[in-house]
């Protein structure tokens, strides 16, 4: 299994992760060897085997739709890199008209 540098670049974009040229090189090698190792799974016969997403027996967990105490705004914003007027602040998304 070979993962080329272009494919690494594509995956990094999907992951919203900027990577350096050195990382591109390293990830290309490391992911190739790890994914080659993972090819061990291919020959395992899994026809008609249900996938396991969770080991728990329970299916849906519901609670009553009742309002409960929640974090006050100041506390919820306390860790925000930037905030203003009770909101999380982010770089401008919309262009000026």
């Amino acid at each position: 299994m070979q993962i080329g540098k272009e494919e690494i670049e594509h995956v990094a974009k999907l992951a919203r992760l900027e990577i350096s040229e050195a990382e591109r090189e390293a990830f290309s090698q490391q992911l190739s060897s790890i994914l080659t190792y993972m090819e061990k799974l291919k020959p395992v016969n899994t026809d008609e085997v249900e996938p396991t997403a969770t080991v728990l027996e329970q299916t849906n967990v519901f609670r009553e739709d009742k309002a409960r105490a929640c974090l006050p705004v100041e506390k919820a914003l306390a860790n925000a890199p930037e905030s203003e007027a009770g909101h999380f602040q982010v770089p401008r998304i919309l262009e000026d008209r």
Partner: protein
């Protein structure tokens, strides 16, 4: 009186008898920490002021108060991926370098309800991804038995703190062995409960279908005491199981394993297992046999594909869970970005270390269009087969006994350049997480160079009692726990 050498139960007795105050306990532990911490580096944050204040308040209460609580005045260390309100919780990542949680994890609320004292937050591999604590953004912790060796990981700080007497007990988290493996490396006891036994609310998510919180302690009885406090249903965690919680300390009455069938999986005693480790584990099996257990050969045929299965599932879940670190609501935000997309890309570039990036890349790749079925879908199906292996084995036996890791602790720097080699050292612990079953790690010997060797005991889902019973019987019949590291 050397307080830091005592077990949790011994220290608790001294406090309730009025022989020591909570203030003296806190003082004694920070003194110990100041002596050995420069060498061990188990802690990321020491909560000195709040621990002192809590201790003062507790001593005031104790003046005219006869109530006792299981953890009253007990100085604990908490892995730094478990949220503690008002106390820095970094996950050993630059991404959360200044993150102060606005709430307590459920396990922390439960410990607080029983009067515990938070000494500090312990080191780990960044976001619990690793087997050595070398992936910490704040530098590795050291093995108290030999400072040139890793303490294991990812809960290496918690295990090293317990082994070096820098706390009376600790909490860790275990996604693929992260409680049991460092416990084995450091010669202490580590218990991973059944998936769903302990609430994950407030545990910073790595791989949600595998993560579980558990105790790291000086002996088996202390693990039972802590499990009593943290186990139980929590409406805040939809994956927490609504299964009644027994008094786990009652499992410690028998001191034998009579009428228990103990399985030995032949696939675990194969190529790659260090002879010293094999010898120690086989001797432990003889001991369990003498204590009344019937030793039976069992097979777990899927063992050979467990690591591949685990690293597909764990990295896929991690890539999804770690998408939340976008520089908006908490954590780091890059100052170099000009627009929103750049803010995401650069924040994540600057905030994550190499192993976390590698796992995000792997997980993103295996979940991406065209590969999902071949990797993630396949791994989930193989996970079913791995669970069936255990179901079949537990039809025949009550417990399964194995090594914790193929070798004793390895040297710092030995595996860090080769991620696949690091992953392969998890061979004996990861299947337990894939199957969701409970398992304990406890000392069963030492290598020739004086490094601890761990014994792993696996049980049926929600059968922590049986696991603890066997572990306690073995521990009491042997003297390993009396051997303590000399830190130099």
């Amino acid at each position: 009186m050397v307080l830091h050498k005592l077990t949790l139960r011994e220290l608790q007795d001294k406090l309730t008898q009025g022989e020591v105050s909570a203030r003296e306990i806190v003082h004694a532990y920070y003194l110990r920490i100041s002596q050995v911490e420069p060498k061990i580096k188990a802690y990321i944050t020491q909560a000195v002021d709040s621990a002192r204040a809590q201790a003062e308040a507790l001593d005031q209460k104790l003046k005219n108060w006869r109530r006792t609580m299981p953890l009253m005045g007990m100085p604990l260390a908490i892995k730094d991926n478990i949220c503690t309100e008002g106390v820095l919780t970094t996950c050993a990542s630059r991404m959360l370098g200044t993150f102060v949680p606005p709430y307590d994890a459920t396990v922390i609320a439960r410990l607080r309800g029983q009067g515990y004292l938070l000494l500090g937050k312990t080191n780990l591999d960044e976001f619990a991804m690793g087997s050595s604590t070398e992936n910490s953004a704040f530098g590795p912790s050291r093995n108290p038995w030999n400072l040139g060796y890793v303490p294991g990981g990812s809960s290496g700080g918690s295990a090293a703190a317990v082994a070096a007497d820098e706390c009376v007990a600790a909490l860790g988290s275990d996604t693929g062995g992260s409680i049991r493996q460092p416990a084995a490396c450091c010669g202490v006891v580590g218990l991973k409960p059944t998936y769903g036994r302990v609430s994950r609310y407030g545990l910073v998510a790595f791989a949600s279908s595998l993560d579980q919180i558990g105790p790291i302690t000086k002996d088996v009885a202390d693990a039972a005491v802590l499990l009593n406090v943290i186990a139980g249903h929590d409406p805040q965690d939809s994956t927490s199981a609504d299964v009644s919680v027994p008094d786990y300390t009652r499992a410690l009455k028998k001191k034998d394993v009579k009428k228990l069938k103990i399985g030995v999986p032949r696939e675990y005693f194969a190529e790659g297992l260090d002879p010293e480790v094999e010898q120690a584990v086989r001797a432990a099996l003889d001991q369990l046999n003498e204590l009344g257990g019937e030793i039976i050969d069992v097979s777990l045929p899927m063992t050979g594909v467990a690591i591949a299965t685990y690293y597909v599932i764990a990295t896929a879940e991690a890539s999804s869970n770690l998408a939340r670190y976008d520089g908006v609501k908490y954590g780091l935000r890059s100052k170099q970005a000009k627009d929103l997309l750049e803010m995401y890309m650069k924040t994540r570039q600057e905030g994550f270390g190499p192993e976390v990036k590698r796992r995000i890349m792997l997980g993103t790749y295996t979940l991406s269009a065209g590969y999902y079925e071949a990797y993630y879908g396949k791994a989930q199906a193989v996970r079913t087969l791995i669970r069936r292996d255990f179901d079949a084995a537990f039809q025949e036996v009550d417990l399964i006994v194995t090594p914790v890791m193929p070798t004793p602790a390895f040297k710092l720097g030995e595996k860090i350049e080769d991620p696949l080699q690091m992953y392969l050292s998890d061979i004996y612990t990861i299947s337990v997480n894939l199957a969701g079953i409970p398992a304990i790690s406890l000392p069963c010997g030492f290598s020739k160079v004086g490094l601890p060797i761990g014994l792993q005991i696996l049980g049926r889902p929600f059968q922590e009692e049986t696991v603890l019973r066997a572990a306690y019987a073995y521990e009491q019949a042997t003297n390993w726990r009396t051997r303590r590291p000399t830190i130099r």
